[in-house]
C-alpha cells in the first residue's frame, strides 16, 4: 500500500508540474494533498492531517476559481497556450525525461541522506515534493508554473513540520493552514497581476 501511494505521489506531482491543461494541473495538485495525508497518517497527529488536507483543498479551490475567472476574462484558448509557453520546451518527451531524472536523483538522495527519525517513503515524499517545487520555480517563465512550484514548497514545509518535529497543538495547525491558504491567495493575485501586466504591455505596444 505504501509503495502504491509513493508511486501515485510520484505521478500526481509530476502531472501537476508538467501538464499543459489547467484542470489536470489542479487535479494533480489536489491528488498530491490526498496522497500525502494518507502517507502521513501513521506518523502525524489527526489534527495536523486534517489541517493539511483542508488547507490543501482550499488552495486548489482558490486556484481553480482564479483560473476560471481569468479564463472568462481572457479567452480560454490563449490561457491554455500560455500554460504551454511557460515551459521552455513544449515537447512532452523532454518534460518526462526531466521528471524521470529528477525522480532518480530524489530517490538516491532519500536513500543516501534519509531525513532522521522518519520512514523512507516519507523522506522520499519530502525530497520529491521539494525538488518538484524548486524545479518548477527555476524553469518556469510565468506565474502559473511559479505558483505551482510555490505551492509544492509550501506543502513540503507543512509536511516537514507535521512528520519530523511532531507537535500536537491547534495553534500550530491553524497558523500552518492559514499561511498555506494565504500563499494560495497571494498566488491568485500573482496570476491576476500577470494578466494585468500583459494587458498593460499590449496597450503600450
Amino acid at each position: 500500500m505504501i509503495v502504491i501511494l509513493t508511486v501515485l505521489l510520484l505521478f500526481t506531482v509530476g502531472l501537476a508540474i508538467s501538464t499543459d491543461k489547467v484542470r489536470w494541473l489542479i487535479l494533480g495538485l489536489a491528488a498530491h494533498y490526498l496522497i500525502v495525508t494518507a502517507l502521513g497518517s501513521k506518523v502525524a497527529y489527526p489534527g495536523w492531517l486534517a489541517s493539511y488536507l483542508v488547507a490543501g483543498l482550499v488552495t486548489c479551490l482558490v486556484l481553480f476559481l482564479t483560473m476560471r475567472k481569468l479564463a472568462v476574462v481572457v479567452r480560454a484558448k490563449r490561457f491554455e497556450t500560455r500554460a504551454q509557453d511557460e515551459v521552455p520546451q513544449s515537447d512532452t518527451s523532454y518534460r518526462l525525461a526531466a521528471l524521470a531524472l529528477a525522480a532518480i536523483v530524489t530517490y538516491s538522495l532519500s536513500e543516501s541522506y534519509p531525513l532522521p527519525d522518519i520512514s523512507g517513503e516519507l523522506s522520499f515524499a519530502i525530497y520529491w515534493i521539494s525538488a518538484a517545487g524548486l524545479f518548477s520555480l527555476i524553469v518556469s517563465r510565468g506565474a502559473l508554473r511559479t505558483s505551482i512550484g510555490l505551492l509544492m514548497i509550501a506543502s513540503a514545509s507543512q509536511l516537514v513540520f507535521g512528520v519530523i518535529n511532531v507537535k500536537d497543538s491547534p495553534i500550530y495547525y491553524s497558523i500552518s493552514a492559514i499561511t498555506a491558504i494565504l500563499v494560495a491567495l497571494a498566488i491568485s493575485f500573482l496570476l491576476a497581476g500577470e494578466e494585468l501586466s500583459d494587458q498593460v504591455d499590449r496597450r503600450d505596444t
Binding site: P116, K167, V183, L190, S197, Q199
Partner: protein
Amino acid sequence: MTLATLVLLPLIAAAVTFLLRDRPLLTSGLALGILAIEANIMRLAGSQARLEIGPASLVVSRFDTIFIILFIAVAAFAVAYAHWVQQLPDFPSRLLLVLGCTIATILAENPFLAVFLLQLTGLATLCLVYIPQAGGASYKTFQKYVILVVLSAFFLVLAYSLFDSYLLYRDNILLAKLIVALLAAGFGLRLAMVPFHLWLTDLSEHLPAMSTVIVVTSANLAALLLTLSMFEWQPWLLKVAGGDRLLLVGSIGAILGTAILALGEKNLYRIFAYGAAHSSGFVLLGLASGTAVGLAGAMFEALNQSLALLVIFMSLGVITHGTTETDWEHLAGLRFSLPISGLGLLIGTLSLLGLPPLAGFASQWMIYSVVAQHSHVLVVAVACGSAVATFAMLRTFLKVFFGQSPTSKAVKEPLQPKVLILMGSALLIVIGLAPNPVLDAIRSAAAGFLHQPWS
C-alpha cells in the same frame, strides 16, 4: 492580557481604519493614536511579561521592548509622512496589519511558532507590496517577494525540524552543517544578504518610499531577533557546525558585495537599498563575533539602520515626488529648491555609513573594535567595503544636490514632510552625540545572552 492587547489592537485598528478609508485625516489620526497606545503598553509591559495560549506563549525580552518601540516609532513617522506625500491607498490600515503580525512574531517564544509567524508576517506585508494598477515591473517585484517568503519559511522550518534530531545524533556533523546551511539560506533571504539581495533592490525601486521602509524594517527586525533567539536556544550552532565562520564570510561578502554593486546603480532608491543591505552586513558581523560587545554593536546598528533608512527614504520620497525623476544622473543642483530633503539625505546616509557624529558611528565603532581584536586583515576588508559604499552614496548625493546644470523644473518642498525629515535627522544626531542611554539599554539586554569568543 497586556500582550494580547499589544498583538490584537493593531489588527483590530487595521480593520477599523480600512472601513474608514474614505476619511484620510481620521484614519491617520487613529493610526497615530493606536501607535501611541502600543508604545505605552510596551513601556508598561515590562521585561519577562508572559502570555500562555496552550502550548504557545508570548514573552517579552529586553531586546523585544527596544525593537518593538523602534518599529512603532518608525511606523508613526511613516503614517504622518504618508498623509502628506502620497503612498499606497489605505496605507495606515496596511501598516497596522503588518505591525500586529510583526509584534506577534517578535514576542513568540517557541521558535517553530516564530517561524510560522514570520511567514505570516511576510505574507501580511504583501499588502504593502501589491500594486494592482501598476502592472509590469510591480507584478514581478510582488512575485519575487512571494517566492522569498515561501522559500525562506521552507528552509527555516526544515532547519528547525532537524534540531531535535541533531541533539539525538551529536556525532552527525553533516547534519549539523546541513542545519546551518538551511538557516543561512533562510535568514539570508529574509535579511537580503548577497546573493539573496535582489528582492530588496527591486522592491525599493517599485514601491512607494514608506512601503519599502516598513517592509525592510519589519522583515529585518523580526528575522534578526529570530536569528538571535535561535543562537541563544542552540548555541552549538556557532561553534560545532561552523556557524560563526559562515556568518563571518556572509557578512564580509555582504559588506563588500553591496558596496561594489551600488557603484553601478542609476536608480536613487536602489543605491540606498544597497546601503541597507550593506548595513545588514555589519549587523551580521557583530553577531558573528560571538561577544557581548559585538552583539550590542549589532543591535545598535540594526536600530541605526531602521532610523537612517527612514530619514533617507523620506527625503528620497520628496525628491522623486517633486522632480518625478528617479535616475540620479538626470538630477542636479537641487540644494536650493530641496534643502531640507538634501540635509535629511546627507544625515541619513552618513549615519548609515557609520560616520561621526551620528548614530551609526557608535555601532560600527563597536563592531570594528571587536573585529580588530581578532584580525587586522578583516578590518581592512570591511573598511574598504565601507569606503566604496561611501563613495557610491556620497557621489550620488553630491551630483543630485551640487551638480552642474540645475534641473529647470521648479520643485517645491512641502512643509510637513520637512518637519518629519528634520525630526528624524535630529534623532540620529542626538543618538550619535549621546548614545549612552540607548547603549545601556542594549547592553543590559545583551548581557543575558551566552556567547563564546572566536577561537
